[in-house]
């Protein structure tokens, strides 16, 4: 029930309680949930405190704090989902960046439950809107694929330092002993997740204890739930980083191959980012990453390397949506060109997909896992020298798919066959690739037919720059002449597509994967979220077409990219929340708004304190007409600044609005002046 306290007092209490929360204590988490529930009128303040705490808490205390967040949104729901949802991306990603892999797994699980309705609730909506969770997932996937590559780079660097034969038991460069955690540019610098667990094992066991003796009431199913994804992971003990083998193959062949694979991974990753739920792309990406790690950890006979290399080279050619350096040594077999450019992107896409049917991943994982268990094959020491569980798209159900028996050839070769990277042992190549990529019966796949037309219509260039960087600086040679306009330029088209690989799944808008692009997208998703929330209200409220802006308003109008302006300093702006009695900066008050009433009787009311009318402006972030600097208290509407002033020290008087934002009349006059100037210009020009 209402404590009758000011928000800042409640917030202070809450902050103190949070600071006591060092363990994953169900009792304390429930307690904090109850406090949040009883103080929903201070939800905004509490949410801020909670966010701040999660941000500033040491890594080992972040998880319990996130469990509080989880519990509050599931047990109390709105308005906490609204307030906490707004910054959830930052809150979650910040924490995720700083904690170890054990905790990351728990965060992964938590994230998963946010995509679903609260168990046992009548409300069928997910805990947080899917735009929010999806943006987090998106970021995680990208970070994780980047991390896998980074591991390989680090491992390579490490090898150079340690040389062959030296023990690799020493952890490679890492941040554990430094006071500063890794920065965002290297968020997953910890190559072996388990290295960190030694430090934090105490915490982890505490979690386990709590799990054992809590009396669960079932509402927060994720706490202490240590169910992992065992199917997903190879049984390699995580605490033992597999030793890296110095590759013995001729370096140029292997390097070429590694380059090709790295490029294919780039392409697949970009594709995956745009098409997050496409199983085919996921599978292909996973298979490529696995192939990469297998190649780096195992010795293979040169002829096998060559075989793989040729296949990969063809894949490189065919899957290329962006220019990728062509391996100079490779001579991909080219069949005679058909007279008409029949094979096209679509068909190629289909055959590529079919190469990586969903079973291919299962087969690849299963056979390499078998290889690890079997001590017999000499070249296989450890197929996975790095923990693979970081890959969230290794869905359990995929890994659990039935594993067809494979002949007794080298399991790696078999798995490559399975992934379609090598031709099948006994299936003759057929002219047409199967049309249904997901049909397990078509497994193993026939080899890909060498493409006659690259996907994007351009041959690979000699440029060695990574695809994405190249796109940013593509030469634009189009002239405004009929001849120049006729030449197809797929590379330029890619600036409209592949160069901005991160696509909003609800409206299709694209964003680059730069820092700025990520921020923009996060704001964009936030915008969708807010609009969706308001659309629910508006059904009740009814709406109508607005009058147009007048000329001078239009001339001065600043288009905002959705919500660019209202999520910065002050989260309260978008909330339109009622109670604004706590001490806030004037700017915060000015940014506070409520939806402008459509009822004419209400539209004409003045502020009871200063007797002035409210200024109706279009709010781009909210996508509706609003009254700025307005607050609704007890059924009446005030200027937020007037109200704050009047209630600041208990006086109920009518203080002057010392900070009237824009004297409405004065502004009007100024505009009329502008307008007259404009008119004068027109008259002058009209008179001959």
């Amino acid at each position: 029930m209402s404590s009758g306290l000011a928000s800042d007092e409640v917030a202070e209490d809450y902050k103190n309680s949070l600071e006591d929360l060092t363990l994953n204590s169900r009792y304390e988490i429930s307690n904090l949930t109850v406090i949040a529930k009883e103080n929903t009128e201070h939800a905004m303040a509490i949410s801020r405190v909670l966010e701040n705490h999660i941000r500033t808490a040491p890594p080992n205390r972040k998880l319990p704090a996130l469990y509080v967040l989880d519990s509050v949104v599931k047990n109390v729901g709105t308005p906490y989902t609204l307030f906490l949802g707004r910054n959830l991306y930052q809150t979650f990603m910040n924490a995720y960046t700083l904690v170890d892999n054990q905790i990351r797994k728990k965060l992964d699980e938590m994230l998963k439950t946010w995509k679903e309705p609260v168990p046992g609730s009548m409300d069928t909506r997910p805990v947080f809107p899917v735009e929010i969770t999806r943006s987090i997932e998106n970021a995680l996937i990208k970070a994780k694929t980047a991390a896998v590559q980074q591991q390989h780079q680090q491992a390579k660097a490490q090898q150079e330092i340690l040389h062959r034969g030296r023990s690799t038991a020493t952890p490679p460069m890492h941040w554990r002993n430094t006071p500063t955690p890794p920065q965002s540019s290297t968020p997953f610098a910890l190559p072996y997740g388990a290295h960190a667990s030694g430090v934090r094992s105490g915490n982890n066991s505490n979690h386990n204890n709590n799990n054992n003796n809590n009396n669960s009431n079932g509402v927060t199913p994720s706490y202490g739930n240590h169910k992992q994804y065992p199917q997903q992971y190879p049984p390699t003990p995580l605490s033992q980083p597999g030793p890296y083998q110095q590759p013995t193959q001729t370096p140029d062949t292997l390097d070429t191959l590694n380059n090709d694979i790295a490029n294919l991974i780039d392409v697949a990753r970009a594709e995956f980012a745009t098409n997050l739920y496409d199983q085919g792309v996921q599978t292909r990406l996973k298979a490529l990453l696995d192939l990469q790690s297998i190649l780096r950890s195992q010795k293979l006979p040169p002829e096998q390397i060559k075989l793989i290399r040729d296949q990969v080279a063809q894949l490189s050619l065919s899957s290329k949506p962006t220019p990728i350096p062509a391996p100079p040594v490779i001579k991909a077999p080219e069949p005679p060109q058909p007279p008409a450019p029949q094979p096209n992107g679509q068909q190629l896409g289909a055959s590529l997909q079919s190469l990586f049917s969903s079973n291919a991943l299962a087969e690849l994982l299963a056979s390499t896992a078998r290889a690890q268990q079997k001590p017999t094959p000499p070249p296989v020491q450890s197929a996975f020298s790095t923990p693979q569980p970081q890959l969230p798209f290794a869905q359990p159900q995929v890994a659990a798919a039935p594993v067809p028996p494979v002949a007794t050839e080298n399991p790696l070769v078999a798995s490559l066959r399975a992934a379609g990277l090598l031709p099948p042992a006994n299936v003759l190549s057929t002219a047409t690739p199967p049309a249904l990529p997901l049909n397990p019966a078509v497994f193993p796949m026939p080899p890909i037919a060498p493409p006659t037309i690259p996907l994007m219509g351009t041959p690979p260039t000699q440029s060695a720059t990574p695809a994405r960087a190249a796109l940013a600086e593509i030469e634009n040679d189009v002239e405004m002449t009929t001849a120049s306009l006729k030449i197809p330029r797929p590379k330029l088209i890619s600036t409209l597509y592949e160069a901005q690989p991160s696509q909003c799944t609800s409206c299709g808008r694209r964003f680059p994967t730069t820092e700025e692009g990520r921020n923009k997208k996060a704001r964009h998703l936030d915008w969708h979220f807010r609009v969706n929330q308001r659309l629910v209200d508006v059904v009740k409220r009814g709406q109508n077409r607005s009058w147009y802006l007048d000329e001078m308003e239009w001339i001065n109008y600043k288009e905002n990219d959705e919500g660019l302006n209202d999520t910065n300093s002050n989260g309260t702006a978008a909330a339109g929340s009622a109670e604004a009695t706590s001490a806030k900066s004037k700017k915060d008050l000015k940014n506070q708004y409520i939806a402008a009433p459509s009822d004419p009787a209400l539209a004409n009311v003045s502020c009871p304190i200063c007797q002035e009318r409210f200024e109706t402006v279009w709010h781009d972030g909210a996508q509706e007409w609003v009254w700025m600097d307005a607050v609704r208290v007890g059924g009446r509407t005030y200027h937020a600044s007037c109200f704050a002033e009047a209630t600041k020290d208990g006086r109920g008087g009518t203080p002057a609005r010392d900070a009237t934002p824009e004297p409405v009349l004065g502004k009007r006059k100024a505009e009329d002046g502008d307008l007259n100037a404009l008119r004068a210009r027109i008259k002058k020009e009209n008179i001959p």
Partner: protein, 465 residues
């Protein structure tokens, strides 16, 4: 042999969705009748409608549409519902259209370096040459590249973010609505698509020919507003503008001087000519080698008309106008709007009728001068009357009135040059009781402003029951 009671159209409605594979660099063209819906979903690959990309796995609903889904990479789409026409075309002018975008990007980059305005692009061509589709495509690409072009619709036959009869400009920096063409102007509630903020002027006649003097004046005013906007809005300034023109201006030499007027007022420096060889050579003669008022050379470029552009007959156009009017007041299938009807006395409204140029000569009326005593004189210059102040009459029933931003008794030039607040609809005229029934988008008294009655769009009898 027809079986009574067998409803074939109903049977096809529930037919299973069809999946189309569209090869790269081709497009699926489709037409959907008014009153029937076709749903399209992108299953894989990429696809765009007039430069705006479709989101994967979202359902887009089309009604009364003639459009094309183009793919640069190949795609699979799922289509539910019955199209009047549908086929896939491999030959499209999209390569050259996209290249125009990249050429414009180069001009924009240079303009930014020089601190000048980005390219002012005017698109000319006869009716049904695909001018609006080309501008939508170029606008979509510009927005996707991070630009924020101003789009200026100078064709009163079709509305943009407004109803026919209006001339509109708006900035397009955010995603456009693939279902709704140019999208929607703001409503009192939230919108699932970013809304566009237009400035709207009224011409109220179907063709500039009907009153070229008034058309030119409104053009001048629009150009001034756009130029002013450029001076205060860096994003739009760097991107420039696209100007859509009425087809009639490209269909006879008599009207070239109006095209020339638009080009001059907006300092057009790129002229895209669609689909007509003769028009192209005429435009070359008139503009090529000339310089815009900014001293930039004018490029005149001929582009091929898309084979997907179909002739829209008068019945379709009429239907489209009525749809635009209905959507202005009542919203579309995504958001229902609640307009407001009210009774007003004749004395409560001040309505101006656009004077036909032919009648100006015979009219000796002083043009409402007696009402303007308090107004500053028009610089001592009294042009011919532009409007005629009229009493409501039965002939006004079912008409659209434009609500200006100026006071009821403003000088005619001010009324003509005023941007609009919006539109009201005359649902009923009761000459005996001297009362009007008015449908307005916004509740509350109709604003006490000068109202303008044009002949375009034509009356629309069954907008309100």
């Amino acid at each position: 042999m027809a079986l009574p009671g067998l409803n074939l159209s109903a049977a096809t409605e529930i037919a299973a969705p069809v999946v189309h594979e569209i090869q790269k660099d081709s497009e699926w063209r489709f037409e959907v009748a008014f009153g029937s819906n076709v749903e399209v979903k992108l299953l894989s690959g990429t696809a765009e409608i007039f430069g705006t990309e479709l989101a994967p796995n979202q359902t887009y609903t089309f009604s009364g549409a003639k459009a094309a889904i183009y793919t640069w990479h190949g795609c699979r789409i799922q289509v539910s519902g019955t199209c009047q026409v549908e086929y896939t075309a491999e030959e499209t002018p999209m390569v050259s259209y996209a290249n125009v975008h990249f050429a414009l990007e180069k001009l924009r980059r240079q303009a930014a370096i020089d601190g000048r305005e980005g390219p002012r692009v005017m698109v000319v061509g006869p009716d049904n040459a695909g001018k609006t589709s080309l501008i939508r495509t170029l606008t979509g690409y510009a927005a996707k590249t991070g630009g924020q072009p101003l789009v200026v619709n100078m064709d009163s036959r079709e509305g943009m973010l407004g109803i026919p009869g209006s001339l509109t400009a708006a900035a397009f920096g955010t995603l456009m609505d693939v279902e709704e063409g140019w999208g929607s102007s703001p409503t009192s509630g939230p919108s699932p698509m970013p809304v566009k903020m237009p400035v709207v002027y009224f011409f109220g006649l179907p063709s500039p020919e009907s009153n070229s003097a008034m058309y030119k004046s409104v053009t001048t005013r629009m150009a001034l507003a756009v130029t002013e906007r450029f001076s205060r809005d860096v994003a739009s300034k760097e991107t420039g503008c696209f100007i859509d023109t009425p087809g009639i201006l490209s269909q006879g030499k008599n009207n070239y001087d109006i095209l020339h007027h638009i080009a001059t007022e907006f300092s057009v420096n790129v002229l895209l000519v669609l689909g007509s060889e003769r028009l192209h050579s005429d435009m070359l003669r008139r503009f090529d080698g000339h310089r815009a008022s900014t001293d930039e050379p004018i490029s005149v470029i001929k582009l091929l008309k898309s084979g997907g552009v179909v002739d829209r007959d008068e019945a379709y156009m009429r239907h489209m106008r009525q749809t635009q009017i209905r959507e202005y007041f009542f919203g579309d299938n995504k958001s229902t709007l609640s307009p407001h009807t009210q009774q007003v006395d004749f004395s409560q409204v001040t309505i101006y009728k656009i004077v036909e140029p032919s009648t100006i000569l015979t009219s000796l009326l002083p043009g409402g001068d007696e009402d303007n005593d308090t107004e500053p004189s028009r610089g001592g210059f009294h042009g011919p009357p532009i409007f005629e102040k009229v009493e409501p009459s039965l002939s006004m029933q079912y008409s659209i009135l434009a609500v200006t931003h100026v006071a009821p008794n403003s000088p005619h030039e001010d009324i003509r040059d005023s941007s609009l607040m919006g539109f009201v609809y005359v649902a009923e005229v009761d000459e005996q009781r001297k009362k009007l029934r008015i449908l307005a988008p916004v509740s509350g008294r109709i604003p006490n402003k000068a109202l303008v009655w044009g002949t375009w769009p034509e009356g629309f009898a069954d907008l309100v029951g």
